[in-house]
């Protein structure tokens, strides 16, 4: 160790240093013990600091980021799945509502049609009845008229005979004559 300091101070006599037997500092064995000691201390310290303090800190930061990123991705995926489920639910509900709406419309249409049909049937029935009544009345009137015509004809026949012959014709003979004439 003694020549360590001295060689420094005597650089002006560099050429003469060959005489020291330690002209080339990296091969100066007198410095080896100190260098080894401090290398052991420094590298040992470095290893302990790295393995116990520094590297776990960096690893924690990187791990936190990776965790955060994968967490965010998982959350994004969950949200997307949720969105898709909501969309599917919405579409199902829309389809159901549409089905229901068309069902309601069909039902209303059916009800209205049935009502219309029944009303039409009632009216037709009523009209038919009225027509039938009218026809019956007409028939009755016709028969009554025919009957009236017969009696009028009988009276007219009695009057005609009376005025032409002056004789009296009984109502029964007149009726018989009219009936024969009507059969004609």
């Amino acid at each position: 160790m003694s020549n360590m300091a001295t060689t420094t101070e005597t650089t002006a006599t560099t050429e003469a240093e060959g005489g020291h037997g330690s002209a080339f500092p990296p091969l100066d064995a007198s410095t080896f013990p100190s260098q080894l000691l401090w290398l052991a201390i420094a590298f040992g310290l470095l290893y302990i600091l790295m393995s116990r303090v520094a590297l776990p800190r960096v690893a924690a930061v990187l791990e936190a980021r990776r965790g955060r990123i994968s967490g965010d991705l998982a959350r994004a995926k969950a949200l997307r799945d949720e969105t898709q489920a909501v969309i599917a639910d919405y579409e199902a509900k829309i389809a159901e509502a549409r089905k229901q709406a068309s069902g309601i419309a069909q039902g209303a249409r059916d009800t209205v049609t049935a009502q219309i049909d029944s009303e039409r049937a009632a009216i037709e029935q009523k009209l038919a009845k009225q027509v039938a009544d009218a026809e019956a009345r007409i028939t009755a009137s016709k028969q009554k008229a025919l009957a009236d015509i017969t009696s009028v004809a009988e009276t007219a026949a009695q009057d005609i005979v009376a005025s032409l012959t002056g004789g009296k014709v009984s109502a029964a003979d007149a009726a018989k004559a009219v009936a024969d004439a009507a059969k004609g």
């Binding site: 160790m1 360590m4 410095t31 013990p33 260098q35 590297l55």
Partner: protein, 253 residues
């Protein structure tokens, strides 16, 4: 004192700041080397702790550096050693960071380059190899030595192959340590030599000002190159550590 400006070895001097008590017949001292080792440890720890202080979800500048730094080594260890090798992550991270910070600190003018001393780089390399041996034998017992006996090799050339494998294994700490040491040492010497030329040229005055342009350009270019080398050597050290540890975890590959 012109000689001092171009003495490229001077920068590697270890200065003694104060002495420590002798132990086991060896003298110890607190030196500039020790100072810069502790400075590297402090800077690494400070950057990482300060960078994660805010724990922001969207990182700021310092936090980005911290995370980039962490993930760079994490990916490397994970790729080479697999999931079970992640328990060596603090070791590889410490090695990479220590070498990187020591190299970068050394690039500052007047700063001492810790990794330009072979005792430091060789010790780190030997430590790596001893860990490889310890892990390999702890995990696989004597099967670990199958590393030196590749399967599918004809029996009559097996001894030669094994010998080559043993030599290659033993040369690992040497190459690992010397590569870093040599790169840092040579780089700093060359840088110093070119910078010294600039100083000498300018000191001579007159036409020397023009003569200084080329070495100045070289010094600038070499500084850029040395920053690249500083990072590259730290990276090489770390990835070779991973590769060697992989042998310990999965021998016989």
């Amino acid at each position: 004192m012109a000689a001092q400006t171009i003495d490229p070895i001077h920068q590697f001097q270890v200065h003694e700041y104060f002495s420590l008590p002798d132990m086991g017949g060896m003298s110890f001292a607190f030196t500039n080397s020790a100072l810069f080792m502790l400075a590297a440890v402090f800077l690494i720890t400070f950057t990482l702790v300060a960078g994660t202080a805010r724990r922001a979800l969207v990182p700021g500048r310092l936090q980005s550096v911290t995370e980039l730094w962490y993930e760079f080594i994490e990916k490397m260890v994970h790729q080479v050693l697999g999931h079970e090798g992640m328990k060596f992550f603090p070791l590889v991270f410490s090695l990479f960071s220590f070498v990187l910070m020591a190299n970068f600190l050394g690039m500052m003018p007047y700063f001492f380059t810790v990794t330009s001393h072979v005792i430091i780089t060789a010790t780190l390399a030997v430590m790596v190899i001893l860990i490889v041996l310890a892990v390999g034998i702890y995990k696989h017992g004597l099967h670990f030595f199958k590393l030196f006996v590749p399967s599918g090799v004809p029996i009559f050339i097996l001894p030669f192959i094994s010998l080559i494998e043993v030599i290659s294994f033993l040369s690992r700490p040497v190459s690992l340590g010397l590569r870093l040491f040599g790169n840092m040492l040579a780089g700093h010497i060359v840088l110093k030599v070119f910078s010294g030329f600039v100083a000498l040229m300018v000191a001579s005055g007159g036409i020397g000002y023009f003569g200084a342009i080329f070495p100045l350009g070289m010094a600038v270019a070499l500084t850029a190159l040395e920053f690249l080398v500083a990072f590259l050597q730290a990276f090489v050290f770390a990835i070779l550590t991973c590769v060697y540890l992989n042998d310990a975890l999965h021998p016989g590959h």
